[in-house]
Every structure is written in structure tokens, then in C-alpha cells.
Symmetry: D2
Subunit: 156 residues, 4 copies
Amino acid sequence: MTVFEPSNPDYATEVRLRFRQQPYNLAIGAEITDVRPGQVEMVLPARADLIQHNGYFHGGLIAGLADIAGGFAGWSLVAADQGMLTIEYKLNIVAPGQGHRLRAVGDVISRGRSIIVTRIDVFGEKNGQDNLCATALQTLKVMTLPPELQGAQTAG
Amino acid sequence: MTVFEPSNPDYATEVRLRFRQQPYNLAIGAEITDVRPGQVEMVLPARADLIQHNGYFHGGLIAGLADIAGGFAGWSLVAADQGMLTIEYKLNIVAPGQGHRLRAVGDVISRGRSIIVTRIDVFGEKNGQDNLCATALQTLKVMTLPPELQGAQTAG
Amino acid sequence: MTVFEPSNPDYATEVRLRFRQQPYNLAIGAEITDVRPGQVEMVLPARADLIQHNGYFHGGLIAGLADIAGGFAGWSLVAADQGMLTIEYKLNIVAPGQGHRLRAVGDVISRGRSIIVTRIDVFGEKNGQDNLCATALQTLKVMTLPPELQGAQTAG
Amino acid sequence: MTVFEPSNPDYATEVRLRFRQQPYNLAIGAEITDVRPGQVEMVLPARADLIQHNGYFHGGLIAGLADIAGGFAGWSLVAADQGMLTIEYKLNIVAPGQGHRLRAVGDVISRGRSIIVTRIDVFGEKNGQDNLCATALQTLKVMTLPPELQGAQTAG
């Protein structure tokens, strides 16, 4: 894994704050469990309304979690007045997402001035075992935050 | 657009039933508005817990809706004892998803014996205007349903 | 199809010139057959060293042709001092690429200030029939050309 | 990295034979440098007709090399009467492909009975340094070879 130098020394606080500002993240019950420069780990505990009739996590949640984990992995590297926009991603579902929770790890694999590329693996945790259920490749755009959203981390 | 012949004459009933069997679909409030052979249209009305702090639909919902619309477009073409598995998709977010609802149209563009490929466009509807917010390309696998799930449409 | 207004009135000359500047394009024998604002059509005639042992065009050529067709569709819309970089694309091979030539049509589906998204269909032409063999979704970045490459169309 | 058990004990011979049967691979000058169960490494030396006017490898070659490396990584795991079909892949170009040769490493990340998913990294080698220029995520379909193509490795 490449070692990245964050542009914002408060990157971890910033990532956690930005995460909480998105109602969808909280609505599905996602949590950030680790933030490092260029890497974010998240979990999504199972819940009755998040699963399909067969007990598997719905693909929309797997995709959403992957998108968030990759997006914040990118966000951890940019300056305090910058944020991330998802341009696109591709997701392979390789197994049903099942277990007591999903775990996603997003890693930056290329950091450009305006474009960041991440790779995300999503696992289902079941009986103490971690099974890969999806893997994604994501392209992010670095954007300058509008003034009213900058410096938000000081209010976190 | 290619014109497809459905394998199951009750394809529309089948698609609507399978859709209702997935709690996630109902939890987010998605609805099927049209089913044709190889094409499914869906909508997702805006709701406070589905949006981000800026009022846009979260990307995870756009992806989930695209995945469903494409998946059921494929499902409309297969036999009564068959179903669809999403192998993978790629989604480009081209504009924020905003407005009073999202609308997704999934179209089959290639129908093989074991692999179906679909294209999905997602629009935000705002002030009577339809704006493309995302487009996706999806690969589906045709699977034979386990016996306990077959013929389910008669019980719908 | 969206109708686009080109930024450069000489867009067609520019596209054809840029195409000829890439030795690979000429080496494989690709030709541009049509240029419109936001749309480029190309063909690649069959040749012994471009095919596999079964007589099909190799996937690398299908991908390369798709990439070029989409890239120049984007290039047709930008200013004279701008060019295109391929950020990424996803390609579905839906049938073997066979026949006396491949034909690719690239269409811009979203035009941003810095990001352009295109869709490309590739067909095999055989016995007067056009068969879809691949479809792609591509993300391009608008870049400012270095001074020594600008205004190149006047030297074409 | 997952450790895979090959279905065919002669997997390495088989992969090298299948590679040589594709005229395109030889035409561009690609070579297989390593074959392991679930992993294939390839190189593509620079050549005047393979590069663009700026001296970079053309994107079509990077894609083609990635496709081959992933495809044969999958092929290394299947039975002697089976082969690989590329269903689709997504490729991010993260830097220009430059140097005296390209090197691609394809790795199987998920092995199903009918679907295999691979990840491929492509590097440009320049002045003894290895620079990531592209990364891809690929979906392969396991197919049964037609009788006339089976057992071909004994004829290699």
C-alpha cells in the first residue's frame, strides 16, 4: 500500500464530521471505524429494513457503503477547503452480503491534483468470518468547497 | 430500441411481485411505474431521511434505484422459474440527484442465455423538468430459482 | 439525443487532425467516417494480424476503438486550446466482434466544464448486417493543451 | 492474496499455449513472464507503432494488455476443457503509460463456478522504476471449449 501524506492535519476529524452531515449515512446506521491517510473503514450493522427476503443485505446498501468508504478515503487526503464528488464507480458483487454487519475498506490508489481513484472491498461478517461480497473501483473529483461549508471541522 | 419477446407471459405480474419481496425497496419508498418486455421504469419520491445536507438524493440511493431498475428489466425477459443476479454495474453520476423524485429507466441492451446486459438512466424531476443525474451499465446473470421461490407469482 | 453546440467552429478538422497524430490509430488502420458535435463514428477494417485464431477481432482492438471514438466525440465539443484525457471506461463485450470491419459510434451524454461522459457502441459488420458487439461508458477529462500543441489544426 | 488451487495441473503450459494462439498478442509483441494459479504477469516492450505522438503507449494497448493478463489469470484456474470469455471490464488510466515496456499483473479475486472476477494493475517501467499507469476490474465467464479446441495443450 502506498503511504500518503494528508494535506489537512485534522483529516480524521474532518472525515468524521463530513460523514455525520449526510442524513442517509445515519439513516442506514453506517459508522466509521477507522480513518487513516488515504484509507477509511466503515461498518453497517444488519437491520430488518436493510435486508432482502433471503436475509441478505440489499445491493443498494453494499454500493452505498462502498461509495462512502471510497469517498471519505479520498477526502482524508485533501485540503481543509476541499471536498470530494463521486464521478463514477464500478462494483462487482462477488457473493451475497450476509452476516451481522457489512464492513467496507476504501483505499486511495491514485491521488492526482483533480482526480482521485480508490478501490473498495466490502465484506460480510458472519460467525467471526470475513467474506468478500463486493469490490469496487471509484473515481472522485476534488472540488473546492463553497465558503459556507469550509472550516466546518472547527464546529464538529 | 430492440424489441424483446418475454419468456414468461406473466412477466409484468412477476416483476411487480419480486419487487415487493425485497424489504429494502419498500423501505426506501421505491415504486414500479411501468413494466415492458426488457424495460422497467421506477420512481423514488424524495423523503427527509433519503437526502444529504444539501437536499440532494444520496448516491447510494441513485445506485440502488439504478440496480433495481436494470435488474427487473432483465427479469422481465426470463422464464417463470428464473431470476436475476447482479454481477456488476458501473454508474456515472453526471449531476446531483435533486427534485421531488428520482425516476429510473432500465433497458436490456443484450440478452444472452446466461448473461443479460442493461443500461439505466436516472433522472431527477424538478419543476416539471427531467434532468439526467446518472447513467449505468449493468451485467446480470440468469439463475434458476430454487423450487420454493418458483411459481411465486400465483401467490402474489 | 442531446444536441450540442461545439466550442470550436473547426471541430471536425481538429478531430481529424488529432486522430492522425496518434501512430497507433494509423497502425491498426482505424478511420474516422463521421464527425458531428458530440458524436464521432469510426471504422476498423479486418486484417490478418488484428484477429484471433477464431477469426474474431481481438478485445483489445474493440476496446481501443471504443476509447478513441468516445474520446474524439468529447474532443469535438471543446475549445481549440483544449484536449481530452481518458480517465476511465467500462466496456461490455456482448458478442464476438466479427465481419469485414468494426464500426464504433461515440456519443457525448454529459458535458461538464471539466468532465465529459460518453457512451460508445461497437458493431461488427457482416454480410450487410450490423451486430452490436460491445458497449462502453467512458469518463473524459478536459485538459488545456500545452502551448506547443495548440493551434495544431492550422498546420494539419 | 488468496491462494488458489488450479483445476488443471498443466495450467501454466495451457495458458502459454492459449496466449500464442491469438495473433493479436504476437502482433503487438506481448509476452507472458510469469504464470501462477490465479495470477499472470505480462510485458509489452515499447515499439514505434505502439506509441502516440508524445511517446506514451496508446490506451488501447494498455486496455488490451490488462484484458489479456486478467483473462489468463482466470484461465490458469479452470479445467483443461474450459476457457475464458471476457464479459466486461473497467479500466482507470491513472498516469501515462511510458517507459521501455509495460508490465501487467492480473490477479483472480473471486472464483465462482461460472464467473471469475480479476483485478489487473498495469505499470510503465522507466529508468528501473515501476509506475502504476492503469488499474482494472474484470468479469470473466467460464465456458466449455468446443471439442476441436480441447486438449490443445498437448499439441503446443
